[in-house]
């Protein structure tokens, strides 16, 4: 069963309640919920969450799968038998003593699934299990889930924005309304036919209802603003990529793609003047450098503001202030702009990115889509010539996606040079002028 609904309709809360991990003192509840005729409790239902890293419990693969069985009091021999069966079922053929941190995102999610099915639950709950994965990882997890459901006969409930991933695996779709209650319940094709347009408008990715793409304006001829020569990048002295000769141009979008762990983010941070190159050079054009020297890594932090902006993969990493308005003022104030100028820029961005009603809210309390919009807005406040974005559309619903794409297209049409690090092929199709695939 696929559970759909607009953000805030309570999909995750329902799943957590079914899993029995909602304590009685967490919020209000009324009515009763029975799983197999009993109150929900861990063991009857197993839950897989969205973030692959936060749900690794133990250091070794075998121990992690065994954890649930231990808690349920399963005898030792039986536990290890189940561990091997579960790993087989999810197709994770790694030694039991393999370190869990050494696994890829898709493998980590399959490990979490194995840990759940080792508990032999009648109900398997998946809360956006593929939202943080690259396309290969998404397919791995989806196939593992459908195989497990067939083998074990367990009931499956999955929450997911991207309908296409699960459409052919599930045999029932339930849509929760934003105001509460079930608005649709039935087989996938009939529910999607009846509610597809409304769901798409609410931010769900429905096949056949793609988000609208922006109209592009006439652009001036692109001019190179950043060039790399024999660039090698890495977080330490060890290079993950080397020999890169790239060019970033104003009024154009360079997409950097490649699977997890190929050094996409590291390359982005190096182009952005945040990480020093391990080898080779990144050179800024005279126009971009504007007297600050040819190499972005030697610029001062304040000099970066008007030259290269970076939007991090996790918006929380770049939040500094306690209100949205103050957050947007940080850059202009650091530049020494007048109070009037700062205020006018901030007000304009609040309107343009639909953040005005949140101006006094704490950035950490915003929803995922709002955080993403705010983190882009903080960079726009100082009008940099180059904007580097790391997975800007990661886990976003289709509405936020369409807004972001429209915004980015507008920036590029106005002459900004855009570097997008992404494994979202829809984004690449929508805005990339050139693509570099790292392997």
């Amino acid at each position: 069963m696929l559970l759909l609904g607009a953000s805030g309709a309570g999909k995750s809360t329902l799943l957590h309640a079914l899993a029995g991990v909602l304590a009685d003192d967490e919020g209000e509840h009324e009515g009763t919920m029975l799983v197999d005729g009993h109150r929900p409790a861990p063991g009857r239902a197993g839950l897989v969450l969205q973030d692959p890293d936060s749900q690794l419990i133990l250091a070794r693969v075998g121990d992690d799968v065994a954890f649930g069985c231990e808690n349920l009091g399963v005898p030792r021999d039986e536990t290890w038998r189940r561990v091997r069966e579960s790993l087989d079922a999810v197709g994770l053929a790694v030694p039991l003593d393999r370190s869990t941190t050494a696994l890829s995102g898709g493998q980590k999610q399959r490990l979490a699934l194995a840990g759940v099915i080792a508990m032999r639950p009648g109900l398997i709950l998946l809360d956006e299990p593929t939202a943080n994965l690259d396309p290969v990882g998404v397919a791995e997890v989806r196939d593992a889930v459908s195989r497990v459901a067939q083998q074990t006969g367990a009931t499956l409930v999955v929450i997911e924005h991207r309908v296409a991933v699960w459409q052919h695996v599930v045999d029932r779709v339930v849509v929760l309304g934003a105001g509460g209650g079930v608005v649709a319940d039935g087989n996938p094709s009939s529910v999607l036919e009846a509610r597809g347009a409304a769901l798409a408008a609410g931010g769900v990715w429905v096949p056949g209802h793609p988000p609208p793409l922006p109209n592009r304006r006439q652009r001036r001829a692109p001019v190179a603003v950043l060039d790399t020569e024999g660039l090698a990048v890495g977080r330490s002295r060890e290079a993950v990529q080397s020999g890169l000769d790239l060019s970033v141009s104003s009024g154009a979008t360079l997409a950097i793609t490649g699977s997890n762990g190929t050094g996409k983010s590291t390359l982005g941070l190096t182009l952005a003047g945040l990480l020093p190159p391990v080898g080779g050079v990144v050179t800024a054009s005279d126009v971009l450098a504007d007297g600050a020297g040819p190499h972005p890594i030697s610029w001062r932090s304040r000099q970066l503001l008007t030259r290269i902006g970076t939007v991090f993969q996790q918006p929380e990493h770049q939040f500094l202030a306690s209100t949205v308005r103050a957050e947007l003022s940080v850059g202009p104030i650091a530049l020494g702009l007048s109070a009037a100028e700062t205020d006018s820029r901030v007000t304009e961005l609040l309107e343009r990115l639909r953040l005005a009603r949140l101006a006094e809210a704490n950035p950490f309390t915003l929803s995922g889509g709002e955080k993403r919009r705010l983190s882009v807005a903080t960079m726009l406040a100082t009008r940099p010539g180059v904007l580097v974005l790391d997975e800007p559309t990661f886990g976003q619903d289709s509405r936020t996606w369409a807004e972001l794409v429209a915004l980015l297209a507008e920036l590029v049409d106005d002459g900004t040079a855009l570097v997008a690090i992404t494994h979202d092929l829809d984004l690449v199709d929508a805005i990339a002028d050139s693509t570099v695939e790292l392997t």
Binding site: E70, R76, L275, G331
Partner: protein, 249 residues
């Protein structure tokens, strides 16, 4: 050594250290050190591994010694004097005793601890010492978040440069960064707690253990060895009249 239950290794190192912190004379420390070196030879610790792992102890010990030689209590002949520093017969003796003691406590601790696998230690603490499983496993799982925190910290640092605020005010910035890390870690921690709870952690069931935590003659022997080295060292100090009880100095 890696086959010995981590709880026994922890116990041996603790017993030995407990004996050696009671006194600060050079006799007990030298006797203990000599016995330990013999023990290392008996367990055939590979030389390269030994030196690499214990290097920090070999660096820390002389540094402590130099400090005490310069600033320790002045007694007997003064050999050298400069500003507040005064090297005397008394401070020199104390320095030598301290260097030996740091080595005598530090070397076995490092040798016994470095190869400890956290999972095995947790198994031992919960199954052998009967510490509450909730507490031990919670701490074990929490430790896995440390590497994520390190990554978060690096990203926070780079993000501050990108936001244009990394040129000055380092202390204030670090405070802000620490707060942001705190918020992020609470979030990660609560996700982990939910994941653990969803797998039945803390349920009202008698927990089983997938891994054994073996305990036998070998474990008792390691603990006894640690204790005997300490006791022999104390006996030697008392016999030579150098026993120097630390309290009351």
């Amino acid at each position: 050594m890696t086959a010995v239950n981590p709880v026994a290794r922890l116990g041996a190192a603790l017993l030995l250290a407990l004996c050696l912190v009671l006194t600060i004379d050079w006799v007990s420390a030298s006797v203990a050190l000599a016995l330990e070196l013999i023990a290392f030879a008996i367990i055939r610790m590979p030389a390269r591994q030994f030196w690499l792992r214990t290097l920090p102890v070999w660096i820390a010990a002389p540094l402590t010694g130099v400090t005490i030689a310069l600033y320790g209590r002045t007694e007997g002949t003064v050999f050298f004097e400069f500003a507040f520093a005064r090297v005397s017969e008394g401070s020199l003796t104390l320095a030598i005793a301290t260097v030996l003691r740091v080595l005598a406590i530090g070397l076995p601790a490092v040798v016994l601890f470095v190869t400890i696998d956290p999972t095995e230690l947790a198994d031992g603490l919960a199954q052998r010492l009967r510490l509450p499983a909730r507490f031990v496993l919670g701490a074990l799982a929490g430790m896995r978040l440390i590497s994520l925190f390190l990554e978060d910290w690096r990203s926070l640092e780079l993000a501050r440069r990108a936001r244009g605020v990394a040129d000055s005010g380092r202390i204030r910035r670090l405070a802000g960064q620490a707060f942001a890390l705190f918020v992020l870690s609470i979030r990660r921690g609560s996700t982990l707690a939910t994941a653990m709870e969803a797998r039945g952690f803390g349920a009202d069931v008698d927990r089983t253990w997938a891994r054994e935590s073996p305990w036998g003659a070998r474990e008792w022997f390691v603990m006894a060895a640690g204790l005997s080295i300490g006791l022999v060292a104390i006996a030697a100090a008392v016999a030579s009249g150098r026993w120097n009880f630390i309290v009351g100095q």
